[in-house]
Symmetry: D2
Subunit: 335 residues, 4 copies
């Protein structure tokens, strides 16, 4: 059950509600998103919710049977829109595109990609500066300095930034340079990190775990939302399966199902979803048609020379062709 | 290596080729598709294929590094087209639709569905009369008599039939009433059945195994092709994964990859691929956009009352809406 | 619900029972195992089973909530014992060993292996004459003639035979030469084959599907049992997973769980379960300790030269050491 | 390649080695475990390692073809022994037992369990104070204060402690109260945490990821080892599969394979490995026989009332019976 409070509720009203919840054996959490305030309540018994309806300060009450509450569409039907400022929004019915390299490598690289994005009317650039790598001996990214350069070039060109945060200690240093924090597949159940990001008022894109269920993904989003951060996106990036022809198995079902189960925008990552460059555009297209609110994919001036993920990264020509193709389909693409 | 023989090769030519193959330690198989004849040759060493090029009777030679040979696009680039007669073809660039109930239940049911198909310009009806069921206590289909009725109604209305064959002993009884034999996921590696179907000159749709790799699917097709049946289709129908929100995980990657690795038409089964009725249309759409040559899905006058698979079966209105939607997309749909 | 009939029930009793079942909307099947007769009944409603208890001819009644009925330990607590004759039994508390090559290759090979088995007091030899192979170009076994030779050598030495049947048409030809029919992983849901084997009074070892659930395995056994064949064994042979360090992932949990859910003997196949020769003995040992009633593994005079599965086959020395080790453990091993 | 340095190598020697490595295009890392010092070197070309052998300060050189280097048994054959002090060691050939509740709940609970362990000669107690939970609304543990109480009771009774660390910020607060840090399955690729733990000189038990490959597990251990922490253990805790009869699928193959690929001790977690209480002992037994150096399992005075994981937790009687059974087997169990 979610109890939505009136804007002008008093501390006295809150106490009365909390007492009644405790009396009825609900475990509850007070959530303040900055826009509205709620009690998220977990109880074991069937109860007539109307006993809360009459309390002062209560605006509305929602029965939510899903294990996750605040991210469920049982509670909120209206889709969440992420507003990045400057008219750039995600989730309002148009397809948002986020593109960029696996790893930020140099100022020159960033500038070339920014130019490619501007030319193709793409407003959000991805690029890692802290890279999670299976081996300790691999390139781990340019770090904070790289981010500052990345940010400077993008802001000079009206481009928003999405980049991965791996550890809660990085948040404070990164926050001024980032428009969207990305939580990677390996951190999809790093609950301390999720708690920390839940305390921010900054958009977060949460990737599904390598073998994460949709239920787990939604619960991880709930971690953040229940701390008050309602600017969240869910990302399908392929799951691990027995099939080894491709790096991951893109789960197209997940796009359709997440769109129904949650009001949060759903983003598709075709680059990791298939992991082989020449199939990335077709998976991007399929995911868009299946209802994705956005795409995040890898592009690089010279994919063959990229310092990581060279196998799944498009070049500018392939990227431009993909964007053009998306715009030729009867789906609305952000301009 | 595949050696393609000239139309007018002599038995003497064949012997000379076979001797040379044996001398070079190739294991080979003679394949006669009714249209052309080949030797499919497996050897361990790198050999200069030109030593075969000069032999009499040899039309062409193809190096094929894939484990499967005849179904590989390394050998044959031109897509295979399945001709069902009466102008109904699969794989010539347009999207073919096959729809019908999980199980044939009655003449009235077949007539209603046929009317639905005719009205929506769909030319192929699916429907099982021999049903593979996990439990021995479930309904196993109407059997041969059901097939005869099914066939009669369809032929009276210009509709072609696809239905599952479970066992090689059924082939002879079924063959006159069937336009396409379907091999189900559980029989995807029933090699005796594949051998038998390979001996026919009748189209076969081969479903991917429940956890079958693409390599295994292509090898199973190779079983049939190497016996001379070149009228084959591959079908992606969802794989088994850890995710339990849906019955199967539709592998959209497989559509794109199979289209590249083989010249055979690739059919998508969104009904089994997701297993939940309200998501079937969106998966159908995504698969079509990803390059599928056809769709096979379940439709029933009253899905709630269907004797099997009620959960994933569309009603007529949903089916008609899906077809209309497919036709609104920039992909060519068969009319 | 299972209704067990008295030995001397009359046709008139049977009719009365069937009428009462029909009246109460049960779908039922009459099963005759040669030893006893039953009605296996599937109904949707909760019913007081005692209304059947008073009927003439009824010996006992069992409530079985599992989807599978006759193979469930809810019905029958006493373990099933498979009697192969000559004092050789499987499932009576001792560990049975079945060993032999992947494929029967020659009389000399069979004789050498038989000598190895006799020397080590192993009474059952495995060996394939019909081999299911992913590729149509691989060696498919020596066929019926091979089986006849295999049988002759074994019977001359007091050794029982287990071999794979792939297709119901093979049953009649094989039955005289076989002591246990093996159903392979790829045929685990070949329901026509299961029906045919259910009609025999000959032991069958049923392998779990490549990604088969335990529920599916038990339902496949139910296919056979419900046709009257109660001499069945279940075999865990490793499942397909994301891990590629080994061919399959041996599911040790399955051994423990199947032993509890069913009264049928549970056999472990460590050769396929891990697929790498040097790990086979340790997996065999672990499976035995976990409660397996038997082991089936691959042994060959010269594994490196074996015509198939060379990677996972033990030589005589390794096999002898494994058997000795098994006998040193506090588990009873058949002598 | 790993270059092991002499104890008395000079800074001058080090520079000469580093120059030669750079000249030969090796990427290298200097590792100091407190006992010995090394260069771990990654290069792309085949090189005659002897060119480094003659350099001053070089003690030995090892060619390691595995992607992980320092944790590979290609480098170090002798098994790693973890010395917890007071004569309590893990990995020296005997089976170590670690048991305790899922979550530390109260001083009374800890005291009861400590008494159970002392009585059964078990020297290491597990118990979580920071609990990773899928849902933000679940009990997340008693935190630091709980740890301090847990530690006090254990030290008063000669019991060592293993507990999970979820976040690098917790390390400093926890370190004085902990004997072994546990990294959970969800943090198996939390590389920042691994880096931090690599900087300690405190034992760490690393759990395999929920769908982690053995390669990934070993690489994650390499993260820590390459920072100088050589007191590491690997833990198999079941993998996620399609089978839903149990919570996870215990991968017995992994025990055997990890023991061969690495010199680190391998610990089995049968509680999570099967997730159902009555099967825990048999899986524990099988894993021990398969070569595990230790077991970690859940025990609670009243499992039915445990605040988490009630389903998979043994009571004292079941735990005592398991220990007794382990000691009856021909494997050495720590006393």
């Amino acid at each position: 059950m979610i109890i939505q409070l009136k804007q002008n509720f008093s501390q006295y009203d809150a106490s009365a509600i909390e007492n009644k919840l405790a009396l009825n054996k609900f475990v509850f959490l007070h959530v303040d998103t900055g826009k509205k305030q709620y009690y998220v309540c977990n109880g074991k018994h069937e109860i007539d919710l109307r006993i809360f309806g009459g309390l002062k300060g209560v605006d509305d009450i929602f029965r939510v049977t899903d294990q996750y509450k605040l991210v469920s569409s049982q509670w909120r039907i209206e889709p969440t829109v992420i507003d990045l400022g400057d008219g750039i929004k995600i989730g309002k019915g148009n397809l948002s595109i986020m593109a960029g390299p696996c790893a930020i490598e140099s100022e020159d690289q960033v500038e070339q990609i920014v130019a490619h994005l501007v030319k193709n009317k793409v407003h959000i650039m991805r690029g890692g500066v802290f890279k999670p790598r299976s081996s300790p001996y691999s390139f781990r990214g340019l770090g904070l300095e790289g981010l500052q350069m990345f940010s400077r070039v993008c802001r000079n060109n009206g481009i928003k930034i999405i980049t991965e945060v791996m550890e809660l200690n990085q948040v404070d240093d990164m926050i001024d340079y980032v428009d969207i924090f990305q939580v990677g597949a390996r951190n999809s159940q790093n609950f301390n990190l999720l708690d920390a990001l839940g305390g921010l008022r900054k958009p977060v894109l949460l990737k599904r775990g390598i073998s994460g269920t949709l239920e787990e993904l939604l619960q991880s989003a709930e971690y953040m939302y229940s701390r008050g951060n309602d600017q969240l996106m869910l990302c399908e990036r392929g799951i691990r399966s027995f099939e080894n022809t491709y790096r991951n198995t893109f789960d197209i079902n997940a796009i359709a199902v997440l769109k129904e189960k949650s009001h949060l925008p759903v983003i598709a990552d075709p680059s990791h979803g298939v992991g082989i460059r020449r199939y990335v555009p077709v998976i991007a297209l399929a995911a868009s048609v299946a209802g994705a609110d956005g795409l995040i994919y890898e592009v690089h001036p010279t994919p063959e020379l990229a310092r990581s993920d060279a196998q799944q990264t498009l070049n500018f020509e392939e990227s431009a062709r993909l964007i053009e193709k998306l715009r030729s389909f009867p789906i609305a693409v952000c301009n």
